[in-house]
């Protein structure tokens, strides 16, 4: 095991322990309990100075995989967490590396799975079941929480070095220089991806430039699609019956015949808009024109609307059909653009200033097109 190889670097920086930050005590009156041994993924324990430390393996069980799948679809995602505190991966020694992560279970699983056959300490911060990057942006994966966990876990007595390895994406929440000053531990920012951690450890805590860049490849965009679709479900349950109902009115045929024609088309068109904004736009993101996500959403939604209308082939001599088709020509791109715009939150490269600027023109456009589309849809029922 190579863990002791960088012992030399540990001698520096043994600063005297500064008094704990004031908020550590006042913030959480509840004493910080060690993680429970009864969690499903804990396989054993190792002895610590103040009780047993739960031991985990790098091999995930079926239950762990199933949990990840459910979380991707939004099932129980808000509470998909492990207890915060110190864990032993394998059989770590006092010279083994200390890796810090969030208590979102998928983050924790991702890290241990990436370190087969290695021994390490894993210090899990309380981030309320949110991943490292999001939690760092929020500040829960932060300087204070890190210092609090270092103290509460008795880490100082478990390892003789004073080095912590944090994921690079934890940096928005953690001030490395303050952690050093207040806890004596030196923060090393490791690679962005857990799968690069082994290589980083082997390279004596050096990450390549590539490991430090956050890309947004197809696979990462694809796994976000389920949650985008799930987010549309609730509004869809309300909108779809309304669309069916509206389509039934007017015309020469009866209410039910209208629903069978125009109603089904409305349903298809609505699903098409969701497909466009929540599935196709994320998948095709780098290849779509424009920088604003709204433009990208329109770039998929408008052609899709035209193809759909062409396939429908309405009789354009009737005002009813012209207005009905026109309504969907507005509604599909508007909805697609709106969903695409909301994908900024899941993307890995949009700035808040940029999103605000985009929204200044995009939101009025989307609402305007949406409302006029809806008005046209209603108007078509009077012919």
């Amino acid at each position: 095991m190579k863990a002791c190889a960088n012992d030399s670097s540990n001698k520096q920086g043994l600063l005297p322990m500064a008094p704990l930050v004031a908020c550590a005590a006042s913030d959480s009156e509840v004493p910080l309990r060690p993680p429970r041994l009864e969690q499903t993924f804990v396989t054993g324990s190792v002895a610590g100075p103040s009780g047993k430390i739960p031991q985990v393996l790098s091999v995930l069980k079926r239950l762990d995989h199933w949990g990840s799948i459910k979380a991707r679809w939004g099932v129980g995602r808000m509470h998909y967490a492990v207890d915060p505190g110190l864990y032993a991966l394998g059989s770590p020694q006092e010279c083994s590396p200390v890796l810090v992560t969030a208590n979102y279970k998928m983050s924790f699983d991702c890290l241990r799975e990436a370190l087969p056959g290695r021994d390490a300490w894993i210090l899990v911060l309380e981030t309320e079941g949110i991943n490292v990057w999001c939690a760092a942006g929020k500040g829960t994966f932060g300087t204070e929480e890190l210092i609090r966990r270092i103290t509460a876990s008795g880490l100082k007595d478990m390892v003789k070095h004073r080095d912590l390895i944090l994921p690079q994406l934890g940096a928005p929440g953690v001030a490395a220089h303050l952690v050093r000053k207040q806890s004596g531990f030196k923060v090393h920012y490791g690679p962005i991806l857990a799968r690069d951690v082994a290589a980083y450890l082997d390279a004596n805590l050096r990450a390549t430039a590539e490991m430090r860049r956050k890309a947004f490849p197809l696979r990462e965009r694809a796994v976000l699609i389920p949650i985008e679709i799930v987010a549309t479900l609730k509004p869809a349950m309300i909108i779809i019956p309304i669309l069916l109902l509206i389509s039934g009115f007017g015309g020469e045929e009866g209410f039910l015949r209208n629903i069978a024609h125009d109603g089904i088309f409305s349903l298809l068109a609505f699903l098409c808009a969701i497909l466009s904004g929540a599935v196709l736009t994320p998948l095709l993101l780098p290849y779509l024109p424009g920088r604003a996500f709204t433009s990208k959403g329109i770039a998929v939604g408008l052609p899709l609307a035209m193809v759909l209308l062409y396939a429908w082939g309405p009789d354009l001599r009737s005002w009813r059909n012209i207005l009905f088709g026109g309504a969907w020509l507005l509604l599909i791109p508007a909805l697609s653009a709106y969903l695409a715009m909301n994908f900024t939150g899941a993307s890995t490269y949009t700035s808040l200033s940029g999103v605000k600027r985009e929204m200044r023109w995009a939101l009025p456009l989307e609402i305007g097109a949406g409302l006029s589309g809806f008005a046209t849809l209603l108007a078509s029922r009077f012919f």
Partner: protein, 109 residues
Amino acid sequence: MKDLIYLKDVVTLRVDTDKCTGCAMCLEVCPHGVLAIDEKRVRIGNRDACMECGACSRNCPVDAMSVEAGVGCAAAVINGMLNWQGTACCCSVDPNNPSAGKAAGTCCS
């Protein structure tokens, strides 16, 4: 594949070269290779790639980097405008400070 770049000339990132000591901590934590270093002074090399995550300013020991950090999430901004606590994704916003208290960005990865 080329890196994805968002809107032009919009981010709030600034470097105070007088304060900068050239420790390069900001270069290490930046996830988009925005910064470069010339003769022991950091400069902004690729401004439009910045996503205002705030990692550089948080980790600058001499306060030379400044950026209005926040998460670029339209749903969070909308929730903030409507004074809602977000539920659709983890983009929950503190309504009193919409640009600070977000849990989003890559909500789900």
